[in-house]
Symmetry: C2
Subunit: 201 residues, 2 copies
C-alpha cells in the first residue's frame, strides 16, 4: 500500500486532480488517497466546485507519492515560499513525484526538476517552461525521468497515472484500470498531437 498526497490549492484544475485520483482509486488496496492543502477544509477549484483537503501541509509531509496538479492557482502558488518549501521537502522523501499540466511550474520553482527532462501543458508551454536547468520537452504526453513523472495538460494526467501504475504494478494492471474506467489509454508517452496544435513542433 502506497500513500498518495495530492496537493490542492485555490484554483486547482478539477480534472488534473480527479482524473488521476480515479485511476489510482480503482486500486484501493494499493493506494491510499489523500488531499492536502496549505490549510485544511474546503478548497475551491478553478471551476469553483470545491474539494475537501483532509490534511494541512503543517500536519503532514510524508507520502510515498507526491502529486501536484495545475490550474490558474499555480500562478499565485509559485510565489508562496511556505508551500514551495513543503513541496521540496515532501518530494525529496517521496518514492515518486507526479505533476499534471502547469503543476510542473511549482516543481520547477523548487529546483526538483533541475537537470531532468520534464513537460507541461501545451497552451502555456512558453510561460511554464521556466528554470534554466530543466530540460523541457516540447512534445510528449508525459515524461518519466527518475522518480519524477510530469504530464502535458489536464487530460494527460490520466495517461501519465496509468503509466505510473504500469511502472509500479506492470502494464497489464494498468490496462485493467483503463478498462474498468472505460478509458481509452494512450499507452505511448510520446503521443502528443497538442504540441503541433500549439505550434511547438
Amino acid at each position: 500500500m502506497r500513500t498518495i498526497g495530492a496537493l490542492i490549492f485555490p484554483g486547482f484544475e478539477l480534472l488534473d486532480v480527479f482524473g488521476p485520483m480515479e485511476m489510482f482509486g480503482l486500486l484501493s488496496k494499493d493506494y491510499e488517497l489523500n488531499l492536502i492543502a496549505e490549510h485544511k477544509g474546503a478548497i475551491p477549484s478553478g471551476q469553483k466546485l470545491a474539494a475537501v483537503a483532509d490534511h494541512s501541509i503543517s500536519d503532514r509531509s510524508g507520502f510515498d507519492i507526491l502529486f501536484i496538479p495545475g490550474g490558474a492557482g499555480t500562478r499565485r502558488e509559485v510565489e508562496n515560499p511556505h508551500l514551495l518549501t513543503w513541496i521540496e521537502k515532501t518530494a525529496y522523501h517521496a518514492e515518486f513525484v507526479l505533476s499534471v499540466c502547469t503543476g510542473s511550474a511549482l516543481l520547477a520553482k523548487t529546483g526538483i526538476l533541475d537537470n531532468k527532462h520534464a513537460t507541461t501543458n501545451k497552451a502555456a508551454f512558453k510561460v511554464v517552461s521556466q528554470g534554466p536547468k530543466v530540460n523541457w520537452v516540447r512534445q510528449a504526453r508525459w515524461i518519466e525521468d527518475g522518480k519524477t513523472l510530469t504530464s502535458s495538460g489536464v487530460s494527460a494526467g490520466m495517461d501519465m497515472s496509468l503509466g505510473a501504475i504500469s511502472i509500479m504494478h506492470g502494464i497489464e494492471r494498468a490496462r485493467k484500470v483503463a478498462m474498468w474506467s472505460e478509458y481509452d489509454w494512450h499507452e505511448d508517452s510520446n503521443w502528443d498531437p497538442f504540441a503541433k496544435v500549439h505550434g511547438l513542433v
Copy 2:
C-alpha cells in the same frame, strides 16, 4: 448562461462528476456549475476523497441541466424515495438530463427513461439495465434521446459532455474544449469497444 445541478451522494464516482464538470467548466461564461446533495457539505466519493455540495435538494430543484453520476453509492440511492422524487421533479423541468455510468439506474428508477433509449456502464450492464420500459442499448459511448443523454462507464461521461456541448454550442466549440483540456474526444457516440470486452455484443 445555463445552470448545471450535478447531484452527488456518498459513494459517487470521482471521474463521473469531475470529468464532465471540467468540460462544462471550461465554458465558464456558458455554464454555472453547482454540486447538490441530499444534505449540504462534504460528501465522500467512492474513492473517499470528498467534494462540497453547495446546495441541499431541499433548497433547490431548478436547473437547466440535471447531471447524475454513477458509483457504488447508486445501489443505496435507488432505494431513497426522497432523492428519487427530487430527481424526477428536477428532470421534468430541466432542458437537459445527463447521466454517467450507473447514474442511469437512478434515472430509470424514476421512470424518466421509460420508452427512451439509454445506456450505462458495460461491466454492470446487466445489473443496471432495469426498468421494463427502457430501451437499453448494449453498445454505445453515449445515447441522446430527446432531452436525456446517458453515457457508458466513468470516462464516457467526458465524451458525452462534449456531445452535449456540441448540441448546445456546435461541434467546433466542443472541439475547442477538447483541445483546451488536451482531451482525445471520441466524437462518435457509437464508439464503444468496452461492450465487446464485457461480452455484450
